[in-house]
Symmetry: D2
Subunit: 352 residues, 4 copies
């Protein structure tokens, strides 16, 4: 009976890397249950096991392995949809599901900057959900759309949130060293990245810069007023499997000491702490005192991949402070982010 | 006869990674000939082949393989010494050789910031050699000391030099992704770097910041007045064999266009172009138009490892411009740098 | 009360890579509790956190972090000792603990081939424990010694065990591709393994060949009669973090089909299945049907690192059959192996 | 004039990885000159620079960069064609060029086992070229086809050739650890190989087994009688950029000592030594005495990538001897092999 009480969810783009993460993370979820998986036409009708090149380190959940892939159409789909689609496809397909009354919880970039679509990290801007009520889908069919940010800006925004609140942020410099899993599968060719650095990820710097403003922006009336700090990003790909590491410098509006900054991180609980969401980490931010940390190979699993790690806080001779930040790009930065958004939606009554 | 006319040189620290590069690069040098190799006491008396764990991709030159390792003492050493020592050892040993009348061409950090020791990149500050005449060694024994910079600041300084001249530099932000060969052998443990990023290299950020000022500083009377720009560095180690990649943002004093910046790089010949030094690259700087370059695996050998590659010049929303820079850390950034310094010294009559 | 009922254990070599695995794996063990940690003199008196360069992906257990390192002497040590020592040190230190009445459960190679010391993999030769009664330590102080095999032969022996029983084994060809973690820390230099293969691991081929015979040998009277098959091993190091992959060919004494071999693997439960040892995997061997498996990055965690994966069974044109085998070198091949041995000892009443 | 005397050659599949190697290796060839490049329809009409994702470490030769890609049709193509095509395409396209009177020097697997097509490594079976006269293309149009072997069997065959001659070979066991460049571009996904081993390369073991027999076979009358030794191969992919490493065991027909085997390798000159072919290495085989060599990262460039390195010769407890072999998979194993075949054809008068 407990089992039947779970909310059935569907996954669009279920066979891709983020889709696989959804399936992995949802395996024993207390509130949600995968009831429907869809992928491209090529896979339609096959079993999930047959269609997916499973790349997770845990086995395919048995129940999902034999599940048949559905066509990617709202007909017959559950009312809660996790969407792990490429932006081009998402642009057409996600509105179709919202039109049909579905809650579309999207990981794609297609609608992140749409003025009525909330771009949500529960800890830092759960209140942005109010935008949902302005969506025409919501009024017409009850459906709506919520998005999470790009994987490279997610950890940055979380690390900045408590500092913005405590001291105000004037400017941000961020250089990423991003993992290959962020590019999907087959994604980055091994000839391009083995023993190498690729100093370019298409559109990534632009996404980081615009999404940071919306994530840390304020809901005023019917719109999000973006945070006003200046931000400059350089994005690089490195030979790391999971985990985006970033070298960050910041200028604050108010004077701060390193003790106060570290305290702000350590004490940070965010907006949803009291909701006890199952996927919310005990500590959204962990500050590591060790001089050579955080490191992706060692620290990426902290908080089941949902805790952002910071370290090496020290004065910056150009701005005020510099530090290293690490976050898990396919958990905190993608599937886990969407899942946490879904939990927030449920807690706030949006999922019926 | 041509052969006997070559200047005999010695190598201190000949068995280490930089020492091996010296031996590789000097194999067919038109002016210099390795006549003496020294290493730690442990190796004294062994043949070079026996003592060195040779890690270069070309074979040990036959003549060197059977050369016996000497004690690291001035007695019996040639008058031109390339020093590839750890800073702690260099601090004691290099002055002893200068005292004994040797030209010490050092790759170590021990005396880089000494006010009478020139820190030289021939293209950008060959005139700093004048400091030699102020050295007490020079007056007393004829010996002297010249240094090259840290491997992570070398390429940066070269990329900045033409911009400093054309536009003036106000501030610099540099994040490095440094190769493992920079740490010597055994150096970085594989457990630490395989599939990983280590966001810390001891003292590296400090060296980059102080050495950049001296390298791009001006000789006024009897001292170097450091360049006055502000600079902030973040140093990271990545799983790359050779080649330091850097994400750089700069603020210029005068307004520039991207065309003018690229032209300044492409036209840059530096102070020693007319000397036709054997190891000086035809182009000190190469600007690559391709959107995803430079990359260490593909571009590091340009100009036999002596050309600095720049790419991805684009506006920076915080400072003025941002770009990627790549340089070969053990050639342009270490052994090749010292060798070019030696050639400059020879051309300027300092080597007798 | 349940807690105080746990058996206190000590760890010799607690700060090394295998020592760290012991601490990680013992964190929530139902029967054992780390009560004492010792390392080299250099660390004596420090807290564990201070002395160990912790390289596990889970945090140091809080209780252990603050535990003080003891001198590596039997005085004050618990009666059950896990030893993760280099062979040279083990040769002196392990007998001292056995002399003092301790159960020494060793991962070192020092005494593996000693005729009275059992070399145990519980599933395949739990009966070899009887050798303990022949040990002079046992008679004199009650102490004794039990060892586990080299990491590269462990998975091989497990894969062979059911085939030996069902069909008999005549000869074995095994080529290893071994992970860097097997060499400890700092272990393999990154300059040696990044983008490389090193076709040599000192003494490894000899260990594989002699230990395989003892592991699969039969206890007859007071001695182990080694299994009589011929075995030839080639050992290579590859750029993999955890997990030894092996290409294996075998000649069987009786004719077998691939179906029968796979069935023998799948049905294999081993000698200790009924004991329900906490660390024994549900399946000692997993046969993977997928054509390109097992792979270390994806399959190493199966059975919490205790299940051996086999795949690609196909005819061999030289011997009879060939297949790929993968096992976790620091869990099934080291710390987990010793832990399972300890559980077996406990179940059989050897730990008091 | 010397320049106009060069033989114009065309490259089919010029933009792929092997095609790029052809262009790199032919840049300063004394006999041949690239006059025509062709690739898939998608590239037709573009400049080479535009169409190729150039992945070599030397720059695109200037003359080639601006060369326009032709359609892959015999019309207008030179009479000497290097073919670097996928087998499926080669199966249709190569005969069309031979029909049109071209000398097709192919790197593909499509016709390697065809009874009238010689599979040639000049050092070991230059006499197999006589098969050309049996080809119907030769009789009808003057065109013909010559192939080189798979990259994984090339080095093996060269290492076996002198042993076959001196001692006779009874059986061969070979386990490969193959570089990613062998799979072309994009080829192996980074998610599949970073920190991993993939124990499967489609059809590779079959190719090794059948091609070894033909390569070391004897021309008798109008056919090649395959060498009769038994051979078993296991093929693995590892995270290495260039260079296939192989663990090999062999059984010889006559008794040999390690001294005699090493001497056979060192003295081996092969069938074409007197021809002084430009791309033939001084030593087809180099035996390395160092205990941990050969290694791909360090030894792959020996003989400009054309020398096969052997090492670690030692007794095998199953067959007679075991050793490690390394060869450059895209030079000796592909483009360099075809180029050497072309030189042999020229020297023997087949290219007019």
């Amino acid at each position: 009976m407990a089992k039947t009480a779970k909310i059935p969810v569907g996954i669009l783009g279920a066979t891709g890397m983020v889709g696989q993460r959804f399936i992995q993370l949802l395996e024993r979820h207390p509130w949600f249950e995968v009831a429907w998986v869809a992928a491209s036409e090529r896979s339609f009708g096959k079993s999930y096991e047959e269609a997916a090149k499973w790349k997770m380190k845990t086995p395919i959940p048995r129940r999902i392995a034999s599940m048949q892939l559905s066509a990617a159409e709202p007909k017959g789909a559950p009312k809660v949809i996790f969407a792990a689609l490429d932006a081009d496809i998402a642009r057409e397909m996600e509105p179709a599901f919202a039109d049909a009354g579905c809650a579309v919880i999207s990981n794609s970039s297609a609608f992140r900057m749409h003025p009525q679509v909330p771009l949500v990290i529960p800890e830092i801007n759960a209140d942005h959900l109010k935008l949902i009520e302005l969506q025409s889908w919501r009024r017409e069919s009850g459906g709506f759309m919520v998005t999470n940010s790009n994987c490279s800006v997610m950890g940055l925004a979380i690390a900045l949130a408590p500092l913005q609140k405590a001291f105000g942020i004037e400017s941000v410099f961020a250089v990423t060293m991003q993992a290959i899993s962020g590019a999907g599968y087959p994604g980055v060719a091994s000839m391009d990245i083995l023993g190498n650095v690729v100093p370019y990820i298409k559109n990534e710097e632009e996404k980081m810069q615009e999404e940071a403003g919306k994530l840390l922006g304020k809901l005023k009336g019917r719109e999000i007023v973006p945070a006003e700090f200046a931000i400059s990003a350089h994005c690089n790909r490195v030979a790391v499997e999971d985990g985006h590491t970033e070298s960050i410098s910041i200028k604050l509006k108010k004077r701060a000491t390193s003790e106060k900054i570290i305290a702000a991180w350590r004490e940070y609980r965010g907006m949803v702490y009291d909701l006890k969401l199952p996927f919310a980490p005990a500590d959204p931010i962990f500050y590591d005192e060790r001089p050579d940390r955080p490191q992706p190979r060692l620290d990426i699993e902290r908080g089941h991949g949902m805790t952002v790690s910071c370290g090496r806080l020290r004065p910056c001779s150009l701005l005020d402070w510099k530090f290293t930040m690490l976050s898990h790009n396919t958990i905190r930065g993608a599937a886990g982010a969407a899942l946490l958004n879904a939990e927030l939606l449920k807690a706030r009554g949006f999922l019926g």
